[in-house]
Amino acid sequence: MTAASLELAAEGGRTLHSAIDADSPLSIQGMTVSYGEKPAVFSVDAAFPRESMAAIIGPNGAGKSTLLKAVLGIIPTLSGKVSVFGEPVEKARRRIAYVPQRASVDWDFPTRVIDVVMMGLYRELGLLHFETRRHRDMACDCLERVGMANFAHRQIGQLSGGQQQRVFLARALAQDADLYLLDEPFAGVDATTEKAIIHVLKGLKEENRTVVCVHHDLATVTEYFDRVLLINVRKVADGPVDTTFTAENLQTTYGGRLATAQIDQLQLSLA
């Protein structure tokens, strides 16, 4: 929907929300989240198709992380509907893996790298099962995929920022989910880690899984992702990178905060 058709629809007083796509890995309809009386996310619709790798883009305070947390039910919503593979989130939990922001936990917590990855297997372990050799092998496999196998028995406080992010990713991999939701996975990590993470994420996409990242680095969007959702409290645009990640949409999303020169540097194909 273009901005113009939105306006027309609004004038007609008809609903703006597109029908939920029954098959979509993640479809959000009319979601509003508010801290106090100020909406952080307002009436956002979005749908992410299968086997896509999508970025949620927007300025600081635009509600990117809030949207993700609201989708997962971590924070309450005022309105809106979320469906994951055509089901409500509660019924689809085992198909979703979440990678929170690295800074959201205390890294002096008494636990080792392998124990954190094992958390991704808690559903399988339940309350009573003992951790067996098979579980440990699965966890080690996931560490291997993010290049951290040698760190399995380190205390997590001894890791660098990039290594911490990789451990979080390994924990999500252990869940063997179909939909991966990542909150700023590239924030404050070294270049090598960024490459390692994107390699893993592209691998997930090739295995027919869906990846959605909150992302802050405009320079890498076209290289890493095939879809974008641009938001600044409200949704600005949503679609394939080549048609949606345009100078015009970016200008709308960031307002005056993004200089024209910066947009030029992105060398976007103007739609």
């Binding site: 947390k69 997962l72 039910g73 971590i74 509660e90 939990r93 085992r94 979703i96 979440y98 929170p100 959201s104 936990v105 205390d106 917590f109 008494p110 636990t111 080792r112 124990d115 954190v116 958390m119 808690y122 559903r123 372990l125 309350l127 009573l128 290049g147 951290m148 040698n150 760190f151 205390q155 660098s160 990039g162 290594q163 924990r171 939701l181 070294d190 090598t192 880690t193």
Partner: protein, 406 residues
């Protein structure tokens, strides 16, 4: 005192002392393991509010039981009453922290003082009542062991066993909620409910500990053992086990100590034993202890100075830093006139070579497992295999000698 203490340790000081020692040990195990997640969730002080909120429950239960025609001293009845008001206090703290703009610490302060004040008023009123046997109710403040009955020990044993079983059963969800509540919620755990179960656990331990150590000191038994255990392990399961053991040992030894001499109060002694273990741990624990940190820092400083000195020698630069000179002198790497000895020249050449190898290694290996190990101090032989080093050496050429006359 010594023989008396040994007797008490071996449960030979009479029936009551043995009962108290076993009860205190069981309480310590339950409190230590049950308090672990309170500490890991960084909500240790909530237990203080819960403990103080038990007092009005004790008073109200007494009044109700007297009104119903009893003597008001039934332990289970009193504990039930204390559990009810403790739960109300807990829910109030949660509600204030969640629903109002008050931070949790303010909510804790408010609930703690108001409930405690109300409890004291009730106890004062009870003293003036004509019915019931009110003597001894104030022992719930600091605990009293003199009149401990077998029935009391059974209450502690059963309650403690239930608490430990709950910790064991819910260790995974509680670990996840304490470490990463957002992930836990996304995973499908009901974070609020798990938090409530955790606090319910704390409440249960507080209530069964009332008789023995009293509401003011039971908080110490919940918090000090896990904090102490953290010095000795880097794993959550480790903290649970060690905290349980430390709590049990403190309870047992503390009870034995107080039994070995007349008029030593049990609860305070148990807490002091706990504190003794904590002090020992904070000073002498390997890794996280104060002493270990000082030694580690000094060793590190010496390594840095030694390395810097050797590199200065290798580059033929003068050394001025007094500590560097001392370090090099002590290992006989330089002479009194600061000229490198034979060994010094060899070591300097080795340091320089290591530095060059690292330079190449960091360029070639993008794997963080290797390049991340570079700190200017770690010898490359401990990170790379001989054939990898040989490949690097081909790039930087053969060995060179440095310094002085060759």
């Amino acid at each position: 005192m010594w023989p008396a203490f040994l007797d008490a340790l071996l449960l030979q000081s009479g029936y009551n002392a043995a009962l108290v020692a076993v009860g205190a040990a069981l309480l310590g195990i339950a409190a230590g393991s049950g308090g672990t997640f309170l500490f890991l969730r960084k909500r240790a002080l909530v237990s203080d509010a819960v403990a103080h909120a038990t007092l009005p429950g004790v008073g109200l239960a007494f009044i109700v039981m007297v009104a119903l025609g009893g003597d008001g001293r039934d332990l289970l009845g009193l504990l039930l009453g204390s559990a009810i008001t403790a739960w109300i206090g807990l829910v109030l703290v949660e509600w204030m922290a969640r629903r109002t703009r008050l931070a949790e610490d303010a909510a804790i302060g408010a609930v703690l003082s108001v409930f405690f004040g109300f409890g004291i008023v009730l106890l004062t009123v009870i003293q003036t009542m004509s019915a019931g046997r009110q003597a001894g109710l104030e022992s719930f403040l600091l605990g009293a062991t003199a009149g401990m009955l077998f029935q009391d020990a059974v209450v502690i044993a059963v309650g403690g066993a239930l608490a430990v079983a709950t910790v064991y059963l819910l260790r995974r969800p509680m670990t996840l909620v304490a470490f990463d509540p957002d992930y836990a919620a996304a995973y499908g755990f009901n974070v609020k409910r798990i938090d409530l179960v955790m606090m319910g656990l704390v409440m249960a331990v507080t209530v069964i500990g009332l008789k023995l150590v009293g509401l003011i000191l039971v908080v110490a038994m919940l918090i000090i053992p896990p904090v102490t255990a953290r010095f000795w392990t880097d794993r959550t399961d480790g903290v649970i086990w060690i905290a349980g053991i430390l709590g049990g040992v403190s309870g047992y030894v503390g009870a034995a100590l107080s039994a070995s001499a007349p008029s030593i109060p049990t609860g305070p002694i148990i807490v002091l034993v706990c504190f003794g273990l904590f002090t020992f741990s904070i000073l002498f624990a390997p890794g996280r202890g104060v002493l270990a940190a000082v030694i580690r820092h000094q060793r590190f400083q010496v390594r840095v100075h030694r390395r810097q000195g050797l590199l200065a020698l290798a580059h033929g630069e003068p050394i001025f830093d007094p500590l560097t000179i001392t370090v090099l002198r002590r290992s006989k790497l330089i002479r009194r006139d600061r000229v490198a000895t034979e060994a010094g020249r060899a070591q300097a050449a080795k340091a320089l070579r290591d530095e060059k190898r690292w330079e190449v290694a960091r360029r070639v290996y993008h794997d963080e497992a290797i390049s991340g190990r570079y700190d200017g101090l770690t010898p490359i032989e401990t990170v790379l295999t001989p054939d990898e080093i040989a490949a690097i050496d081909r790039e930087i050429g053969g060995p060179t000698t440095v310094g002085g006359a060759v």
